[in-house]
Assembly symmetry: C2
Homo-oligomer: 208 residues x 2
DNA sequence: CGCAGATTTGAACGGCGGGTCAAGCCGGCG
DNA sequence: CGCCGGCTTGACCCGCCGTTCAAATCTGCG
């Protein structure tokens, strides 16, 4: 009770990581406890020792993975000084498969699993909303910063963030699905183009 | 062999309809054959008499349902003479829950199930791409018609269709998820607003 | 009416996989 | 060194559900 806050945290995280990997690979529906155990290099029984049920494990793994994803992106963007370049970087990172070294296609696929699950699982619904809100928020923050620095034109930052974020979501789906019409490059151009128009700047630095 | 083209088609469709209803209600993952049987008012065995496996049944049901959805919308829009009003109607119908009498929230949810499944099922991936392509196509057609009639400004209709369609998708997800920030009204305004700007017309008829 | 084939039923099978548990293991502490 | 409690194992249990199948029913036709 007293000194047990973080000792087993390792296992906890290891399992969540393993679960995220398995879900990415096999899909939520096809993920078995034994798969996660194998991926984590432990016995199936141990999984249920750390998580009270398969459902809880999978839910936690999904939010955990998306959280990590966000944190990684967020950390990187925070370093960049100019708002416009921050936004540019955010767009680059938001296009699945655009930067080869980053964000493999499958990571995005986890979002879709989250959505499906959120349709029925109230906890997941709540988590999803929080995740999305934070995402829109960071876009809005960049926009506000850019407006303050006169890099962008005026406009309701939250509204603009919603629009840009949603456009990204909608296009990302097609890209993840490997749609023959919607390639990463085409998505990138579209997003950046619309962003420029909505924020009222020119898009000289077209390529990255 | 000779006179069997359509006699059992009834059952086939009845079952697909039932399956779509059950999936909408319970979610793909939780749908059992016996649920579909019950919903269709037949015995479980019969389901497997008409469909070679649960998987096939569910896949077919998903594409079938989305197909119906599209057909319904398409049929209605074709009646409208002006391109701008066609587009307006399309937007109205595309916002989940915007028109109370139409397109219940759950119908949209089927799309998400399609996406998840398409990630792993090649047949479903192919169907999904066809469905999406047709959808973008109809938007593009309206745009082209509007441009020909000088209702809209110039621009690559396919590109514009992709952008508008994707924005709709991205926003619709949030609305389906019941996001507290993204209400149907707000989505509607955003879509129509962006559409107006991209197509270069004014948005006097704001409300429907 | 009686037969053939298609349709429909529902009981039964079989495997899969989530969850349980009794038994070992291990590290620290007295 | 030996004990204690948390950690870990893997075999086992058990219900669920997709699928099969033999039998019942129905349909139209001669």
């Amino acid at each position: 009770m007293t000194t047990r806050p973080r000792p087993q945290k390792d296992r906890h995280q290891e399992i969540l990581d393993a679960a995220a990997r398995v879900i990415t690979e096999r899909g939520l529906a096809e993920t078995r406890i034994s798969d996660v155990a194998e991926a984590a290099g432990v016995s199936p029984g141990l999984i249920l020792y750390y998580f009270e049920s398969k459902d809880r494990l999978l839910s936690e793994a999904l939010t955990y993975a998306n959280d990590q994803f966000y944190l990684r992106m967020s950390r990187e963007i925070r370093r960049i000084p100019s708002a416009k370049e921050q936004l540019q970087r955010l767009v680059d990172l938001s296009v699945p498969g655009y930067l080869p070294e980053y964000g493999r296609l499958d990571e995005w696929a986890l979002w879709i699993e989250v959505w499906v699950r959120a349709l029925r699982d109230p906890q997941m619904a709540k988590d999803r909303e929080a995740l999305d809100q934070r995402w829109r928020q960071s876009i809005a923050d960049i926009i506000r910063a850019g407006q303050a620095a006169s890099e962008f034109g005026p406009g309701d930052a939250d509204e603009l963030a919603m629009r840009i974020g949603s456009l990204i979501d909608g296009l990302a789906i097609q890209v993840i699905m490997n749609d023959s019409q919607v390639t990463p490059q085409r998505m990138h151009r579209a997003v950046w183009d619309v962003t420029a128009r909505e924020l009222g700047f020119d898009l000289e630095p077209a390529a990255t």
